[in-house]
């Protein structure tokens, strides 16, 4: 039933799942409206309506479909532009680094940075990356709380938490258990188990 398919598509879209399997309908948001097969008119209408629903719902719910890593035409265009520009930049860098100044001046291109920077900038970049590894490790070690710090026991959220009343037959609310209780549970109760066994 076309109506059933629309409602299931709508329900599936609200749950954040792609409404139809891709091999059936092709692109769900934009692009070609018809799949590779030639569907019947009723099915075409149904798939178009379901696609509109998912498109509208994806816009309404915001981030659900646009953040998927699936290939899209815009992404292909961005990728190709990036590829072309990076290749162009690399060829330009090689030209600047290798071709002598006199040849470039004879072509009319006179305003270039010093060739010293063709070596210096990559070296700077590599040294920065190596120092970054060391620095990150050091920052991690420095921001670890020492053993006598109160932050190893509690923090502001645990101090300001509110106690919820215990209700029968309900799952107890999530809370931060004080460390004394945790210790008694782990280390004193285990002794009783051992003495029983």
């Amino acid at each position: 039933m076309p109506q059933d398919r629309v409602t299931t598509a709508e329900r599936a879209a609200t749950r954040g799942v792609d409404a139809h399997p891709p091999e059936r309908d092709g692109d769900t948001t934009r692009g070609h409206p018809h799949g590779p097969q030639a569907p019947t008119p009723r099915r075409t209408v149904a798939t178009q309506r379901s696609r509109e629903w998912t498109h509208r719902l994806s816009k309404a719910t915001g981030k659900m479909v646009e953040n998927s890593p699936s290939p899209l035409p815009e992404r292909a265009i961005y990728g190709f532009v990036l590829f072309l520009s990076s290749q162009f930049g690399f060829i330009l860098y090689l030209v600047w680094a290798f071709i002598p100044e006199t040849w470039l001046n004879s072509l009319g291109l006179t305003y270039w940075p010093q060739k010293y920077w063709a070596i210096a900038l990559p070296v700077y970049l590599l040294i920065t990356i190596v120092i970054g590894y060391v620095l990150l490790f050091g920052i991690n070690m420095m921001s670890t709380s020492p053993l006598n710090s109160i932050h190893t026991i509690t923090d502001n959220y645990a101090k300001n938490q509110q106690r919820k009343n215990y209700q029968e037959e309900a799952i107890p609310a999530l809370r931060d258990i004080p460390i004394s209780e945790v210790n008694q549970m782990f280390f004193l109760a285990a002794k009783e188990h051992h003495t029983q066994n």
Partner: protein, 188 residues
């Protein structure tokens, strides 16, 4: 009543735990670390002297050799007096307080006393130390402002760093003493 057991520290070295049970309200735990080994001493001395000899062959200045001997001697004395802890003791008396003593290899002793009114609890806490996660025993001090708050954490056995099995023994004995203290303080 005295009891001695051997355990290991976080790096795998041998430790000896001596328990003295004076009364239901007073107990003492003494952890002794292994002494300075001859092997490590000769290794450090040899490396320092070899480095000094290498510098001497470069600079042809004999002061370097005598400086190396001097540095080794001073370094050893300073290490024994300020760094190398031979024994750590925890004495818990329920009506009085908790006393921690560290005795160094040169004979120096440093003592810290915490009165029982300030002690909230003795717990085993987990923490990140260098690249490991270790268990360590610590004393929680009460917050004068807030009745259920913790103002300070005082770790004990910091240079011996025993493993969890040793800590559990000490923890249980301390909890017995603290429970005894609460019982006697609750009943007037």
């Amino acid at each position: 009543m005295e009891d001695e057991q051997s355990f290991s520290d976080i790096c795998g070295g041998r430790l000896a735990l001596q328990r003295r049970y004076y009364s239901p309200s007073c107990r003492e735990f003494c952890i002794s670390c292994p002494r300075l080994s001859l092997r490590s001493l000769t290794a450090v001395t040899c490396t320092v002297w070899l480095a000094a000899y290498g510098l001497f062959t470069l600079c042809e200045n004999s002061i370097i050799l005598s400086a190396a001997i001097f540095i080794t001697l001073l370094g050893l004395l300073g290490y024994l007096h300020f760094v190398k802890i031979d024994q750590e003791t925890l004495l818990i008396i329920d009506s009085l307080g908790i006393q921690m003593t560290s005795s160094y290899a040169s004979g120096k002793e440093s003592t810290t006393f915490i009165e029982m009114g300030k002690v909230k609890d003795v717990i085993i806490n987990e923490g990140i130390y260098m690249q490991k996660v270790i268990y360590y025993l610590c004393i929680l001090l009460k917050d004068p402002v807030e009745p259920h708050g913790i103002s300070q954490v005082v770790p004990v056995f910091q240079s011996a760093k025993p493993r969890l099995d040793c800590l559990i023994e000490v923890y249980r004995s301390c909890q017995e003493v603290l429970a005894h203290q609460k019982a006697t303080s609750a009943s007037p």
